[in-house]
Amino acid sequence: MKSRTKKILLYSTAVVLLLLAGGGYYISKEFNRRNKDTSLIKADYTLASSVLVSEFERNDSLASVKYMDKVIDVNGSVKEIARDEKGYITIVLGDSVQRSSVRCSLDSNHHSEANLVRQGGAVRIKGICSGFNKEELLGSDVVLVRCVLSTPKK
């Protein structure tokens, strides 16, 4: 075999191996990719909890198109801090006289931030909008998941 052919074969093999390694690395990285921590994601919208709720109450289809899956930085008064027996925490934002609210399910890696929040206090929370629960009797809620405190205030 001529040395030129040998070289071509060698380079071709190296390129194929590199492509395979690159592809394998990409597949493995993509397969094992975790959800990005919400604190590291820039908010798509920043608004008051009352505004968010009223937009959904006015027209939930339109609001869903606008907010669904988006990162929302919401500010409001803490109506309730609900902790269950398994340690999951939900911070409920809204007016205490209104049944409707924004329910923020705290990211389990950020549970300690709940200690910085007190009922009745003002807070900013960043989370991903997962939808709207329309309930006439219980009160309607906009639900945010993977929430983190945006700027904790006591």
Partner: protein, 205 residues
């Protein structure tokens, strides 16, 4: 469930002919409803529903967790309802979550799953006394826009004025027209396990 207003109000309004009673019939209705209905309604907006479709050949556990399910139980009638936002399911791996939402349950199109049913043996439960009860729940479950009848055993615990509801049942994905691509068919179980864990509080008006 909440069309009780129409059910109670119209006959009451027709019954009272005089002006005074007509004027106050709405107030009477509200008091009646508070007394007869609200006193027995238990609910949560932080119910836990887990979904597990791991098969024996899955390289990872295919499980999603939802902590934002709404559950309402009327202890008087045994009527039980669940509502869960599909985008509220969280998976350990982002790709799994994306596939779940985009390819399998199509959560942009079918954003909610609902169960509307009842506790079959409701009259055997003393909600005023602390204790554990084995219950049978049956009703209609809607996932991916498809509604099927389901029946499952569960446990109800009455403690400290709360009702804890736990159930564990299986659903055939094909029944809800959730199709699994051939390439990953052996990696995903065709029967998903659904675990329900809700702690219900008395609804106070």
């Amino acid at each position: 469930m909440w069309s009780l207003f129409d059910v109670y109000y119209q006959p009451l309004k027709n019954k009272f002919k005089n002006k005074f009673m007509k004027k106050y019939s709405l107030l009477i209705l509200v008091l009646l409803v508070i007394n007869s209905v609200f006193g027995q309604v238990y609910f949560t907006k932080s119910g836990k529903i887990d979904f597990d479709a791991t098969s024996s050949s899955s390289p990872d556990r295919i499980e999603g967790r939802n902590r934002t399910a709404v559950c309402v139980l009327d202890t008087k009638t045994g009527s039980l309802q669940f509502s869960v936002l599909m985008k509220g399911f969280e998976f350990e791996k982002a790709l799994m979550q994306e596939h779940f939402n985009e390819n399998y349950v199509e959560s942009s199109k079918f954003n909610k799953s609902e169960f509307k049913g009842s506790v079959a043996d409701n009259d055997k439960i003393d909600y005023t006394k602390e204790g554990k009860y084995k219950v049978t729940v049956k009703g209609m479950l809607t996932i991916h826009g498809e509604t099927k009848e389901v029946k499952t055993e569960g446990e109800m615990k009455v403690k400290d004025g709360k009702i804890k509801l736990e159930a564990d049942f299986r659903v055939e994905l094909a029944d809800y027209k959730i199709s699994i691509p051939g390439l990953v068919a052996d990696k995903i179980n065709k029967t998903a396990r659904i675990e329900v864990d809700c702690s219900l509080e008395l609804f106070k008006n």
